[in-house]
Amino acid sequence: MGFIKQTCHTALKPVRQAYGLLSENKRVQYIVCAALFAAMVAGPLFLGRYVIGVMWDAMFYMLLALGLNIIVGYCGLCDLGYAAKFAIGAYTTGICIQTFGLSFWLSLPVSVVMAIITAVLIGAPTLKLRSDYLAIVTLGFAEIVRITARNLEITGKATGLHSIERPSLFGLQLTKTEHWYYVFLVLVVAFIFISYRIRNSRFGRALAYIREDEDAAQAMGVNTTRYKLYAYMIGAVLGGITGSFYAVRMASISPTTFDFNQSANILLAVILGGMGKIPGVLAGAAFFAIFPELFRDIPVVGDMRMLFFGLLLVVVMILRPQGLWPERKKR
């Protein structure tokens, strides 16, 4: 084990040095961010449909990971059923459009309200207890949501909802992969903005105090139960919004999309990237979307890609238990 650690340590030295340069110079940071953003904007002009599809997938995971990051990364709560939050958004939008004939944009606030209601229903009784209980309750609730969706008439039972009408924006109906690429790019930027604003505020610090030491946070006057509920609600709202957009992007949703695997993947993306650190969370989510694709076409390895994926996760967790993104050094 020590040998592996040593080898990786030496191999990653240039990466660390590059990061050191990056973290010290604010201007370089801005330039890198701007360049990345420009590349993302210009991407669809040069890239094929398949690559755009994979990048859309990555952005979709980024949204989910950023939402869950508020709950897990910022506040230190363990949520094992994040798929339920995004299922509720997706089904709410699907039902609003198909059953009630609402437009997509009107279904969005309905999703937000539904997300808040469910978050309060689950959070209010459990968040008073120690944080461990939340893990069990969220896990159970996610299964309840999935099984309910599979059995109700209004959610389309096991087949789900199909041919959900695509929304239009400024008279343009959003049908092409490129359209959705840009919609999700805007969402990612918005979620990053929200995450940063929360992180650097009295509210965000209070969440971090709870994560670090709940008793000490109480002793400093933080109403821990209420702040945990707020974090949980914000996470649920972001998940719900993502779910709504997912429903109209895919035009069809079914219960299998929202199983435990999905919740686990999102949680792993957050942990892998380094809880609470936004660039890390983004990298973790991108990694989750892109990695399985990279190995798809290689014979033999392609069939075992999930095995390699698992191994890689284990190695990362041994080498960097705090996640991929480096620890913040002295500023």
Partner: protein
Amino acid sequence: MPLMQIQNLTMRFSGITAIEDLSFHIEESSITSLIGPNGAGKTSAFNCMTGFYRATSGDILFEGESLLGLKPYRITQKGIIRTFQNVRLFKNMTVLENVMSGAHSISRQSVFGALLRHPAERREEREIREAAEYYLGYVGILDKQNEVAKNLSYGDQRRTEWARALAAKPKLLLLDEPAAGLNREEKDRLVALIRRFRTDFGMTVFLIEHDMDLVMKVSEQVIVINFGTKIAEGTPFEVQSDPRVIEAYLGTDE
């Protein structure tokens, strides 16, 4: 009226009585100490006063209002701040962020302020930061403000905790064994610092300690407990010569 009154406080944990019928009061602007041998019930009393334990019976009055049944954060909002026996900082956050937590109970911006960052929010953030920097300077570790708390030396972690408590501008500062782990010289500086807390900020200080020497130097009023009950109360001089206190600390000469 005393700032805080403890009346017939009793605390039982399934059969074990940690505190029995304890009564004392803390005068405004005084430095009062609660002392006693290990296991005498000092920390239990402290936890009852700060809402971490719920007293079995009796009452705790602060400015005439009962604190019984209030959650710790509510008690903090009333102007009572505690420190912890074994320093409990937010380890992975910077020293500055740690001290900024002190201002939490006296500021109010929440989610919408965070997202909108309107002028009132910006002003409050600036005030919190400036206050935190001021108190870091006051305890003498302003130069360490951007270090991660867990990387600090033990002495500096203690200072961070004091700065954090001061930033809450408490009326009553409760120190749980502030001298634990400090050397002789640091203890002397602590005595001076506790006196300064009062003169500079007008706060009342209450400490629990088993370091007799420090208690006798710093406090005006001393309450001695053993096995959960009060055995003596008075000025350091009175307490020191009380035979029951000597017995509790040194044992009886059979």
